[in-house]
Symmetry: C2
Subunit: 257 residues, 2 copies
């Protein structure tokens, strides 16, 4: 059954979407059955794969409110063998709408239940907040969380808040919730700041930190404007090679490859 990982960090702009999209794309291209869930109302994962969010009729929002079974909501790109549960602007209303619902934090986990056997990996791209959407992502992430951390000072500051939330979810909702790994992103080895921050992240998380460092690489920022993952847009770029390495490291740690 699928390993379900959520990309989480309430600090904005740290590379959650970029990591979710590119890990998904490499694993799908290597033949694994992969589903990417876009749980962010900004729908950046959806548009990074060339899907126009305003044309999305049904997606994650409908899955959360139980309007249709998830299997009927999936888009599939045959070229890259990748499935997507797209986000639509409706999702922006879900945070407030879900507040009064019963078992509001487990809606996504229950919605994904029927498709777990169809996939090897499910990646959930979360919004930059610790509200009900991200809580749904955490509870659904039976494989654990992948935490992208930008190699910058302000991104460090947010880690303690994130750890607090993970502990709260572990004690109240999902005791098995664990950190699958921490990914250092937008690393620029020429700056002292980046090297100081990397040392602090390694002190804080120890061997949970993936060995692969993702460098700052403009190709990674360009790829979404073409609606392509880096594995298609510029696989031989620094960013492309780094995400291929990260995907391999993830497989190794999961006992696959």
């Amino acid at each position: 059954s699928a390993r379900v990982y959520a990309l989480v960090n309430q600090k904005g702009g740290v590379g959650k979407t970029t990591t979710a999209v590119n890990l998904s794309a490499y694993l799908a291209q290597w033949g694994y059955r992969v589903l990417l869930v876009d749980l962010d109302p900004q729908a950046n994962a959806t548009s990074s794969l060339g899907v126009e969010k305003f044309h999305v009729q049904q997606g994650t929002y409908e899955a959360l409110i139980g309007a249709a079974p998830v299997g009927t909501l999936l888009l599939r790109n045959p070229k890259w063998n990748l499935h997507l549960l797209p986000a639509s602007p409706h999702l922006a209303g879900a945070e407030v709408e879900l507040v009064g619902e019963l078992a509001r934090e487990t809606k996504l986990r229950r919605a994904l239940q029927p498709v777990l056997e169809r996939f090897d990996y499910i990646f959930i791209d979360c919004p930059p907040s610790l509200g009900l959407l991200t809580l749904n992502g955490l509870v659904a992430a039976t494989g654990g969380v992948i935490i992208p951390v930008q190699a910058e000072y302000l991104a460090l500051e947010g880690l303690s808040l994130l750890m607090q939330t993970l502990r709260r979810v572990q004690s109240a909702l999902e005791p098995n919730l664990d950190i699958r790994g921490v990914v250092i992103t937008m690393y620029d080895g020429r700056t002292r700041l980046a090297n100081d921050v990397v040392r602090e992240i390694r002190d804080f998380f120890g061997d949970k930190v993936f060995r692969t460092l993702i460098p700052r690489s403009v190709r990674l920022a360009e790829a979404p404007s073409h609606g392509l993952p880096i594995s298609v847009y510029a696989p031989r770029s620094l960013g492309g090679r780094a995400y291929a390495m990260l995907a391999r490291e993830l497989l190794e740690g999961d006992g696959l490859s």
Copy 2:
């Protein structure tokens, strides 16, 4: 009475905090009476000014729930002549707690009412979401919103969602809500991507876009780790000079200077 501006963009990591902190610091150092309100549970504006968020006993959260008058919650840095309404980790709970309250969107505006005469400028740093905290920031921003936009593709994608929200707030809560200006941040003129995005932002917003472009400059990312605004940490750096220019442009447009 104070001009109240909210720094808003639900896209994460676009420079909301960096712009709020550095505009506040320059205007305060030039003798204007300035209050910076940290409305983000990450408390990045608070820590960027050297205040330890876990030591904050009372701040924005207490102001929102009406536990104490805002005037008694302010911190002041005498060296920079800057006042701060700090964030504490409690603020993370406010989004859900406020949902059931009466007039939940106008709590911040009402809390700031008694101190409007004491300041020339009030800047509100919002979190990267369009939930109740940001709605409170929008309703309180009688001067309008300042929208930082990173010169990258994914940041463009989010603008239509932001405009939708602004229109909803205008029709339901605050008819005078306006865009004071759009700031292009982390601009790297060497990349085609940045220049393409700048052209699109100018097409989308016209003369609402500030002339001053904020370049990508590592000094800006370093300053928060020293608890200093750029006006103190590295005023002659590219980033320092750009924010001084932006502060001057804001004053000019406001009929001051």
